[in-house]
Amino acid sequence: MKIILPKILGISAFYHDAAAAIAVDGKILAAAQEERFTRIKHTPDFPIEAIRYCLEETGLSLEELDAVVFYDKPFLKFERLLQTYYDFAPRGFLSFMKAMPVWLREKLFLKREIHHGLKQVAGKYDSKNVTLLFPEHHLSHAASAFYPSPFKDAAILTIDGVGEWCTASICYGREKDITMLKSLHFPDSVGLLYSAFTYYLGFMVNSGEYKLMGLAPYGNPEAEETRKFAEAIEKEIVQIYNDGSVKLNQQYFNYATGLRMVNHKKWEKLFGFPRKEDEEPLEQHHCNLALAIQQVTEKIVLKMAAEAKRLTGSEYLCMAGGVALNCVANGKLLQSGLFKDIYIQPASGDAGGAVGAALAAHHIFFSQNRNPEMPDGMSGTYLGPSFSEKEILAMSRKVKAVFHPYESEDTLCEKVAAYIADGKVVGWFQGRMEFGPRALGNRSILADPRNPEMQKKLNLKIKYREGFRPFAPAISETKCGDWFDLHSKSPYMLLVAPVQPKQRHALPKGYLNMALYDRLYFQRSTIPAVTHLDFSARVQTVSGKTNPRFEKLLAAFDALTGTPILVNTSFNVRGEPIVCTPFDAYRCFMSMDMDVLVVNDYIYIKEEQPDFENKEIWMVNFKKD
């Protein structure tokens, strides 16, 4: 029986970043991460709220779905676990004892768990009427990158920690088909290698990887120590082959069988310092090690991409998997000219697996044709919930908020641009929430990139996070070339590019040897708040087609200041998921030193709010990430 307009629910859950997505006739209409609703960052729980939202948004009921697709194969993953314990026995006994109860209670009976979860979404639900599918983890990643891409055919590179067995894959996508050509298997994994360094440098695995990437430019590229670290990594820890595949020396690791990522003693002996504790101050050797592993990772990614090119001969590349969020490596890959263009799935981590699973079922299981969309099929990632005027007013009344309505979009943007130019920090909440880890102008905190104090203020007084963390610029795509050396669009903030030389300031002598925070606060360019230590920036190019209001705001700021750029960071504090509802936004606004909040057409000024000086009453304690 030929199914017309397949309606498919994709689910990612039980590990980290649970999410749901619904595709109708191959078009993703709704997608959201569960963390945004439950307010627990990276929650692995079955995405009841996210599914509920996706169904509401699309007007579908569970009975109307043609398939429910989970993003990996649980039995294959269980096989990997058992085989790994067997191979490493008797090492791993403790880990085995810890892992088995969870598997025997929940993960092994995934069909039951999914049916149980769906029953919670909609009370009346007959599991016999639902087709459950389980594509492989890396197929879900590959599908999430290729199917929404604008390319008819492309090489596909997926790299992450681990799926079932696979840790990286090279596929070829053509029309509606994806063919796997090569894969790398556990325990050899680029994602786990990067996570091991994340762990050793005091950050949390599965969430701190982007902090490590942000720390790398603090490393001294000319230092002997950095060179020695990189050499030691390649000599002792990871063997890199010409095709980009890697072999990790398991004597240095503990993740295959233990409860920690690395063998502490061996790492301390190799690098000469112990694992950094969370609150321990950052020192130059930490930064140098971060730079060394970043360089090694880039080398591996470039080799893998070259192999993908060799195997497929394609001019285009699609990427997904957690490592595809390494925008520094992505930028280098684009600069290498190996491919004419690169498309990276904006939700490259496991949340995006929900999108990939749904699309894989549409094109492979239901054998539906594919018509690539321009610029892509992700709708700018604005796939989450939006809120009506009525809902915003109800929230405002409830918290006794004082606000100013603006009927004209032009006036609203001019007013907000003036606030930002005046040094104010603005919470910008508009339309549908973004899907994936980045705030792209609908749940964002915005500020003036020219302000020399802004990076410090945003980190310490607004987001309450580590002082070294960089911020990203959002720029109108038509003006990008004047400010950044970027020859491609970067709508999802997934490419790092150098700030144009004409915008840079000369560095003082001995800059690389200056103290870490002296280097950080040195004004390197005309837009210091978004220029990282190595003159790089993680650029978001904004198009009027996908986000007209944000583009208008950038134009208004440009008209006022001559700078078409805003600092764009996610609307949350450290450890908090990005805000979802108007109330989340108002609470977050009141709990930090943010000056102005804009929710759709309404502006809230901090000083006008009741009890605005008492921010403690609005604070929620989030577990630090």
Partner: protein, 49 residues
């Protein structure tokens, strides 16, 4: 029953029959631990282990 059918199909597909007894033992142990804790089955478990 669907679970055992799926499991069997999986082992056949992957040709990893050696995992079958491992999984069965784990499942039996799991069942004993789940249903046995603090119940009438407890003395039976103590004599076994």
């Amino acid at each position: 029953m669907e679970f055992f059918k799926d499991m069997w199909l999986f082992f056949r597909e992957r040709k990893k029959y050696w995992l079958l007894p491992v999984v069965l033992i784990l499942l039996i142990m799991g069942l004993i631990l789940v249903f046995g804790g603090g119940s009438a089955m407890a003395p039976f478990i103590y004599t076994l282990f």
